[in-house]
Symmetry: C2
Subunit: 286 residues, 2 copies
């Protein structure tokens, strides 16, 4: 079922490429055009068949598009959205795939005035991996993952519906909420685990790693993620991350103090509570 | 190739059961006898064929054994080793599979005097998972994993060699070091990741977990481990864990402060250093 005539994807990496592959595979649009900064990336994306056509000219890429998806690193999303909006046709919809939402929405909605000609709807398909680049893209990346679509006082209801239908058609479990609530949730379930994993991988002296096994491997997996990408995510969600860090530090300290004071009951209570929560999370996913 | 006539395993769970299966499969002993506290566990172990024979009587279990492996939770190891030593024949070797070594060695070597009749050699096969119980045991659990064997001033060289040969024959990569060096290494690559993972799983409010994905799942995997087991590991390696926690807190705080002060360069430097270390660790394992 066609949802759009022409979809433009700006930034065709792991996420943008996977979306392109999935839209093409499910024939949700007549054309998927990729907008690139570098010819080398364009060649890779065309080779991976992630887009039907590529261009280095944003104007050419977005001019007739019904839907423009900004899938660049978070720090570039507002700028790219505002540039795309200049060339987009009236009634076009712009969405994004950024991991923080309030920072992006504030910048786009402020700059584009009360009634932006193209409609903006924030999205966050919660999929990905520590691998980057269109080479790792796959059509089923979003399947079964949550995808949060954000609504503000300025969001057009029709555009919100169309964007939600797209993610649903790609197999994601769509939830609609405010940018603020989104940012709080991801600060806890995604940004905090990344900070902790980077902290752990950074702390252990390299010479000790020869004895590291599965526990270390999994606990630090996301510390192999792209530093530039994550620096921007952290910077654009500072306030929520601060609160999330405080929650973590409280619980971590509770365990640490119980160990130091040889309080076996205290350790047990803290570990049991953590295990129950984690087992519950895994149980629900099955 | 037979290394032993009779091996006794005290505590036949995931680790003890996997060792039993592997010794039997590779025909490294004529008999593997399991020593149990509960009839129900004995039935499970016999059903899983983890041991050739089971007994609830430690005296009967260990009396003719050449090798006695204590694979109980860490907190029970010294007590079980000293009880086994009472009934063991002269020249028998006792080893264990505990995750901390100095605490165990100090208790066994102190109590058993200068020349213990059976020889004690500490071991730590660094394998396992967040699952527990003989039902999860498998003959290849130790294959490819590091196994640290500890040497103190009281260690018998012949016994050290025999124990090392056993782990080598089960496919583990054997390293010999002092209990102190062992405890420092595992405090960093194993105990610290567990504390951090328990801290993370405990900190995130349950209602936020519906948006958690692979990042949270992997970073907290080891928080599904057995709380009692880990409480004892933490308690018996307190001093080294304290130092490991300080290293982690320093690096974590470096990232956190860089985020709060909007120091993109500082964040990038910290994340890059962590990623380089983690990528190097993964690269060496391949």
């Amino acid at each position: 079922m066609k949802l759009f005539n022409k979809v433009a994807i700006i930034g065709v990496g792991l996420i943008g490429g996977s979306i392109g592959l999935a839209i093409k595979k499910r024939k949700l649009a007549n054309e998927v055009i990729g907008v690139f900064r570098r010819p080398s990336t364009m060649r890779k994306a065309l080779k991976a068949r992630a887009v039907s056509r590529g261009t280095l000219d944003i104007k050419e890429g977005v001019k007739d598009a019904d839907l423009i998806i900004i899938a660049t690193p978070v720090g570039l999303i507002p700028e790219m959205a505002l540039r795309a909006a200049k060339f987009a046709r009236k009634g076009a919809i712009i969405t994004d795939t950024g991991s923080t939402k309030a920072w992006i929405a504030a910048r786009i909605e402020k700059k584009s005035g009360r009634k932006p000609r193209p409609h903006f709807v924030g999205s966050h398909p919660m999929a990905g991996s520590e691998q980057a680049g269109v080479e790792s893209a796959r059509a089923d990346l979003l399947k079964g993952s949550p995808c949060i679509v954000t609504r503000t006082s300025k969001t057009d209801r029709g555009a919100l519906k169309k964007v939600s239908r797209l993610w649903g058609a790609l197999g994601a479990k769509v939830r609609i909420m405010s940018p603020k609530l989104h940012d709080r949730s991801v600060s806890l379930v995604s940004h905090l685990p990344h900070i902790v994993a980077f902290g752990l991988a950074g702390a252990v002296p390299a010479k000790e790693l020869r004895y590291a096994a599965e526990g270390f491997r999994d606990t630090t997996r996301v510390a192999s993620s792209d530093p530039g990408l994550w620096a921007d995510i952290f910077l654009t969600n500072r306030r929520e991350i601060k609160d999330a860090c405080c929650l973590f530090e409280d619980y971590y300290r509770r365990i640490r103090i119980a160990i130091e004071s040889e309080d076996r009951k205290g350790i047990l209570a803290a570990l049991r509570q953590a295990k129950t929560k984690r087992d519950g999370f895994i149980g629900k996913r099955k």
